[in-house]
Amino acid sequence: MDTTLLIAAAIKIAVFIGITMSFVSICVIFERRFSAIIQDRVGPNRTMIPLSILGFKKDLALPIGGLTQPVADGLKFILKEDFTPSYVRKFFFWLAPVLVVVPALLTMAVIPFGSPMEIAGNVIPMAVADLNVGPLYIFAIASLSVYGITLAGWASNSKYPFFGGVRACAQMISYEIALGLSIVPVLMFFGGLNLGHIVEDQVTNGWLLLPLWNEGGFIISSGYWADPQASIQRLLLLIPIIISFIIFTTSIFAETNRMPFDLPECETELVGGYHTEYSSMKFALFFMGEYAAMVVGSALIVTLFLGGWSIGFGIDNLLPVGAWWVSLLHIGVFLGKVTFFILFFILVRWTVPRFRYDQLMNLGWIVFFEAALINVFLAALVIAYPSIGFVGVAIGFALLITASILLIKIAKGSLEKPSATAV
């Protein structure tokens, strides 16, 4: 194998893990400052660089508004007493936090961070592994993190962590179905599972959620309508895609145990949920795992629906291909989009109150599962329009509506409580 590629891969691994980890810190400071501002507070704003412990006379107080807070937090976590209760199952107790962090970091491997860079004649894709089964890989690995949480709950040998673990298990399995089904339309549209290709497709044909341009130009230009049927079809496709987007985003919330779906660790009911018995760096690993999952989730949403690293609006086509600065620019754009989604995650957390567990399950199994299922067929009809013609679509649509009504009826029936005649 080419040594350049090997070295590049090593550098990519180091850089992208580094980026993810620093994003975790940034998430924390964003979360703390943003939530403080929402709640009329200030938040951590005065962490400085403690030069005095190194022997200097004064601490270095930079006007950075407490941006060094994550460093202080991290240091605190490392220096805190690592307390392991005597009654836990030691091996699994130690294993659990690792099992939460590692999958979250592994999933980063297939995300294309930027446009491919050309170094010494080699075109290097800006993803650690340019797999042809990207989303599948992500789902496969991400679902491993539930083992960590469940193990933590069980190994703690304490009732609240156990509840938390069981809840997490049930919740993640439930939402993985909706998660997987919801992107089927997306994958059907792109016709492939390579995330790099998906992004490149969006560069030329407009972002999935924002199909305003294609090779012909913008939606207002005549070039855009060079193939009117394809263009209309593309716009029509927005309906299943938006449904997909909503289901996918919501399911990501549930998968990452974020508010309003943070039932495995809801402190009002379960003390601290699965990490009640954890302290120090072991607790911090859960924390990191959760935030890393949030970063990966955001990155996935951005990649699938919002064009990944592309600047959009046809600008990418004007830039030289493979130049290093273009790659870096694209990485920057990608991270900007991810940051936007992280802020969105935080905003949702401080807006929407926590669900009840049965509501969560109903939403996952009865609403999202069915909606995603119907959505697959809806997208299929739109995509199949050129080949089966108007009549085919009409018949298909009628069938779909009938099936949907039936499905909704069954779903409603399952929601109804048994009649109260016994009383």
Binding site: Q39, D40, R41, V42, I246, T351
Partner: protein
Amino acid sequence: MAIIKVERPKLSIGEKIYFGAIFKGMVITLRHAFRSLVGKTTGAKELNSSGVGVTMQYPEQKWDDQLPEYYRGAPALVTDERDRERCVSCQLCEFICPPKAIKITPGEIPSDNEWAKIEKRPLEFDIDMIRCIYCGMCEEVCPEQAIYLRPDYVITGTDRNEMVHDKDRLYEIGGKRVGLVNKWNDLK
């Protein structure tokens, strides 16, 4: 008791989807965040906000002039207008102190002192401010009106010994209090 059955409100399709409500909620949150960021939160002015939310940047900004008269801060000993110790170390405060923060070593006033007739005064008077709960029982129980809770609340130290207020420190915090206390009465 009458039982009133409250019907759940019927939701329209739009309301059932919830997304409108969630979106509205997010707008409200964002608007609030923005107002907070520019220091326009309700009450920011009255509460002397530092610019974000209603929070005061504590060590730099303080609210001392707004402290109420009855504010219960650090307990301290007071002297009268002629700098005489009011405390006679009766140890009632030590007795009543719920967290046992007060420790008094009583002492006799030397006979050559002008006020030897009072006979007794504290030789040592320590209040452990780590223990103190600012309840004000000592002030309430004091028969000589010698101990008061002052508005001082910035009680800090870098070790435990520093947090123990000795007699000198207590008089320094306490200062003077004017007004007749029975024991000085010459006619008595």
